[in-house]
């Protein structure tokens, strides 16, 4: 079959799901050209604003029958270009699937549409003393669907785990339009853990149309402290020491001088004057335990020459400490015409050396780098500042970002801790994984999407076809007969 032009699908799509949900006007399409990685822009041929599962199924079936690629999009806050459209393809926007279907405190589950905003889940569970633990800094805008596609993390994932540890079920529209339920309410199900493999698959295995997550009981006590240091090495050393001593804080976040300066200018968070680095350390749990660990952390920090340790006395002070951290990305945008966020991971004991080396690389390139990151997990977020009016500056920033990723790999780390591979880092996958590793991943991709229509051109370093499904064993669930009748 020769693939149809995506634009030819406008009429059948409108007929199937309603004209108002299908956008073709170039001015409207422009809104969807990029996600949070604004340097990569592609205008899609068509945008579908799905309102329910049936819209998604219809759109995917029409694409599948015509051999046209499609890309899922949640809130478009992704930072690796995962939701960048395909020019001759359909963008399926899921923001309107934003109903919370069930809040079930008895089972500690919330079931919701993929367009539901991350923070809404916690808000829905809060009256029952429960919370949805994964809390990306973008939690006020990013969607559950985007979260499961990227396996999003957040400050409190150090103790509570990432999205994958909190998703128990999903309804997924496969790339041929078949609808399957992976997992459910129960904590485990017989058979392969396809849900576990789906989480973090960056939209390449299908579209989630309903998601069930686990909620956790709110802790008895939460205490937050802000610790100021005169050197990055001391702050980094404190993080390594806390972890090595067997303390598992709810969060350990770090900001360096440039990030502090930006946050201060933007939100007046009142961080310790003269700090070259600060740590936000949060401990939660039973009060006795939190008190003990607090003293331990104070002792460790003091031994690493912390010059100021401030403890939030009330919810307002705590909120202010977090405001500095959570607004840091946006704040950096105010001290530089443009910046580029990198995301890499290193073993936590390597923090002091690696941050040193990042500074050296930045100096050598003559580029300013602000660091604000999930230190407890060893998850670096260098914000690389550049002036997009200067020719080649963006490219130089990108090169520095890749050099930092090489550094992460050389230290036994990873090229991404939470933002995903997307289009941005697909070439780097070949540096982290062998051809054999990638081949195994490709097999999974082919099992879900033999035609390669779901978010093609992402995640894998080189495009590959699936070929015929090999082997004699071809027992398969019966195909939905409706599939052939779309046209």
């Amino acid at each position: 079959m020769t693939p149809a032009r995506a634009s030819a699908l406008a009429a059948p799509l409108r007929a199937a799901i309603g004209a108002a949900k299908v956008l073709t006007d170039p001015a409207q399409l422009r809104t969807y050209e990029c996600d949070g990685l604004a340097t990569v822009r592609v205008r899609p041929a068509l945008v579908v604003l799905a309102e329910d599962r049936d819209d998604v199924v219809a759109a995917v079936r029409i694409c599948a029958a015509a051999g046209v690629p499609f890309v899922a999009r949640g809130s478009g806050t992704g930072l690796s270009g995962g939701a960048v459209p395909v020019a001759d393809g359909v963008l399926v926007v899921l923001s309107r699937l934003r109903a919370i279907h069930a809040v079930d405190p008895g089972n500690a589950r919330v079931t919701a549409g993929p367009g539901v905003i991350n923070l809404s889940v916690t808000r829905a569970a809060a009256p029952h003393g429960q919370a949805y633990a994964p809390d990306p800094s973008s939690q006020q805008v990013c969607s559950l669907g985007g979260n499961i596609a990227e396996n999003a993390g957040g400050a409190h994932c150090l103790k509570y785990g990432f999205t994958v540890n909190h998703v128990t079920g999903a309804e997924v529209v496969l790339p041929d339009g078949e609808v399957v339920r992976l997992g459910g309410i129960a904590p485990e199900h017989p058979g392969l853990d396809l849900l576990g493999a789906f989480v973090g698959s960056e939209g390449t295995l299908g579209i989630a149309t309903e998601i069930t997550v686990r909620t956790v009981q709110a802790p008895e006590t939460v205490r937050t402290m802000l610790v100021g240091f005169h050197s990055v090495a001391d702050a980094a050393g404190t993080v390594s020491d806390i972890i090595a001593e067997g303390i598992l804080p709810a969060a350990v976040e770090m900001m360096d001088a440039l990030a502090i300066q930006a946050a201060e200018a933007a939100v007046q968070c009142g961080y310790p004057e003269g700090a070259v680095a600060v740590l936000v350390v949060e401990l939660d749990g039973p009060a006795v335990e939190v008190d003990e660990q607090f003293r331990q952390v104070e002792r460790i920090a003091a031994a690493r020459h912390a010059f100021e340790t401030r403890i939030a006395r009330d919810e307002d002070e705590r909120a202010l400490m977090w405001k500095g951290r959570k607004s840091a990305f946006a704040a950096v945008g105010r001290i530089s015409p443009a910046y580029y966020v990198q995301d890499g991971v290193i073993p936590r004991t390597r923090l002091p050396e690696v941050l040193d080396e990042v500074a050296r690389l930045a100096d050598a390139a003559g580029i300013r780098v602000a660091n604000v990151f999930h230190a407890g997990d060893g998850n670096l977020h260098p914000l690389i500042l550049f002036d997009d009016a200067v020719e080649g500056a963006g490219h130089a920033a990108e090169q520095l970002g890749f050099a930092i990723l090489d550094l992460c790999l050389a230290n036994g780390g990873s090229i991404t801790g939470e933002h995903g591979v997307g289009v941005e880092k697909k070439a780097k996958m070949a540096d982290q994984f062998t051809p054999g590793d990638l081949d195994a991943m490709h097999r999974l991709r082919c099992a879900f999407d033999p035609a390669g229509l779901a978010n093609p051109g992402k995640l894998f370093p080189t495009p590959r076809l699936c070929g015929e499904r090999p082997g004699p064993h071809t027992a398969e669930a019966p195909r939905d007969p409706a599939l052939g009748e779309v046209f």
């Binding site: 459910g184 904590p187 493999a197 003990e292 936590r348 990873s414 995903g420 999974l444 099992a447």
Partner: protein
């Protein structure tokens, strides 16, 4: 232990024990017959028997702990390393792999392949939450690693999830990388008698929905002719001050406001049956009863999983004479059921609670025609396609998985 010894009889034509990843890959590349990987063989009865086994591939010679970075709380160990041996080494640094399946001698690879877990899953989760990297040899000899050696990593698909619980059907797991936890210094237990399935759930959820942080909340239950009886145990593991405070608070919760006086303070040195001095009292102690974390035994043993709040319905659906344990707030239980139990009817009764019942052990007389897994569900077609891509010739553990995969 041999496969035969654990109730699963599937004689192998030949047995091999490769000593490295490369040797394992050579074996798979150099042969064409069916291959069934096993570790110590403690859970060979957990899945359906293979249709054929030309080569029994023992991972027991893959027994090295290859990398241990205590400061990073990460360890890399080959598949044949026994969990107990690993724990011993980690304990020297006051660390642990927070997995506590009871099967004695079990290897890491076998624990991954069978997705075995124990009571502490309440706090720490299961294999899927702790395995951060895996290397497997695929059916055609391809060596494929996924994940990494850092606790946070989203590069590429997480194939560790696929190998977990796959019983070797997608590849031979040769190496595993784990996230570790500090070993808590102190322990306290609180036990309460249980009268009826509703009472069991009421007690368990009183604790689970409080701000207390038990590492386990285990129910030891027995289904009598009319109702369920047993004992609920809350385990606290943290600093001495924390476990003391939490145990006292927990005992208060379990005893209820009206009968605080019934709390028995002091070490309740458990008897052989694990009951404390006065079986009608809530008791605080430090030692774990003998039943804690053990699988029940009997002619047929099931693993049940269900919506957590359905605990009383699940217990009520089990036939009189059944007994076992349950991770009470998690939605997982282990049940020894009478041999005449109607599995299909039980599964139908669990279905409204998103429940399943998987056979873990069965007397050889019961194995013929036994449906180990139950109905395969609507994702079975997709599972089949995954199997086809990883193992097109169906040479790895054929027939062991759900739906005869």
């Amino acid at each position: 232990m041999d496969p035969a010894a654990s109730g699963a009889r599937w004689p192998a034509a030949e047995t091999v024990a490769p000593r490295s990843t490369a040797e394992t890959a050579d074996l798979l590349r150099g042969t064409t017959g069916t291959v069934v990987p096993v570790g110590a063989g403690t859970k060979t009865g957990w899945a359906a028997p293979p249709e054929r086994c030309d080569l029994l591939l023992r991972t027991t010679a893959l027994d090295r702990i290859t990398e241990y970075a205590p400061g990073d709380l990460v360890v890399v160990a080959e598949a044949g390393v026994p969990l107990a041996a690993l724990q011993k080494q980690l304990a020297e640094h006051s660390q642990m792999l927070a997995l506590d399946p009871p099967e004695e001698g079990a290897t890491l690879g076998g624990i991954v392949a069978a997705n075995a877990s124990g009571p502490r899953r309440l706090r720490y989760g299961t294999v899927r939450d702790l395995l951060i990297g895996v290397t497997a040899v695929l059916a055609d000899g391809t060596v494929a690693r996924s994940g990494g050696k850092v606790v946070k990593n989203v590069a590429g698909y997480d194939l560790g999830k696929l190998h977990t619980g796959a019983h070797g059907a997608l590849g031979v797991v040769v190496s595993t990388t784990w996230r570790l936890h500090p070993r808590p210094p102190a322990t306290a237990t609180v036990t309460a008698p249980v009268h009826g399935s509703a009472h069991a759930a009421d007690l368990a959820f009183r604790v689970a929905r409080s701000t207390l942080t038990p590492t386990a909340l285990e129910l030891n239950w027995r289904r009598g002719p009319f109702d369920v009886t047993g004992e609920l145990l809350a385990l606290f593991e943290s600093s001495p001050a924390s476990v003391a405070g939490q145990a006292a608070a927990c005992a208060g919760l379990l005893a209820g406001e009206e009968s605080k006086a019934a709390v028995y303070e002091g070490d309740s040195a458990p008897s052989a049956h694990g009951t404390s001095h006065d079986p009608d009292r809530v008791a605080i102690g430090a030692a774990l009863p003998a039943w804690f974390g053990q699988r029940p035994t009997g002619p047929m043993v099931l693993r049940l999983a269900y919506a957590p709040a359905a605990l009383p319905h699940v217990l009520d659906a089990l036939p009189p004479g059944a007994h076992g344990t349950a991770s009470a707030a998690v939605g997982v239980g282990y049940a020894a059921v009478p041999p005449e139990t109607d599995l299909a009817a039980l599964r139908a009764a669990l279905a409204p609670h998103d429940g399943s019942a998987v056979v873990l052990a069965a007397h050889p007389d019961l194995r013929a025609g036994l449906d180990h897994w139950g109905p395969p569900g609507d994702a079975f077609g997709l599972m089949t396609r995954v199997k086809d891509r990883f193992d097109p010739a169906r040479r790895l553990s054929p027939g062991r998985l759900l739906g005869g995969l």
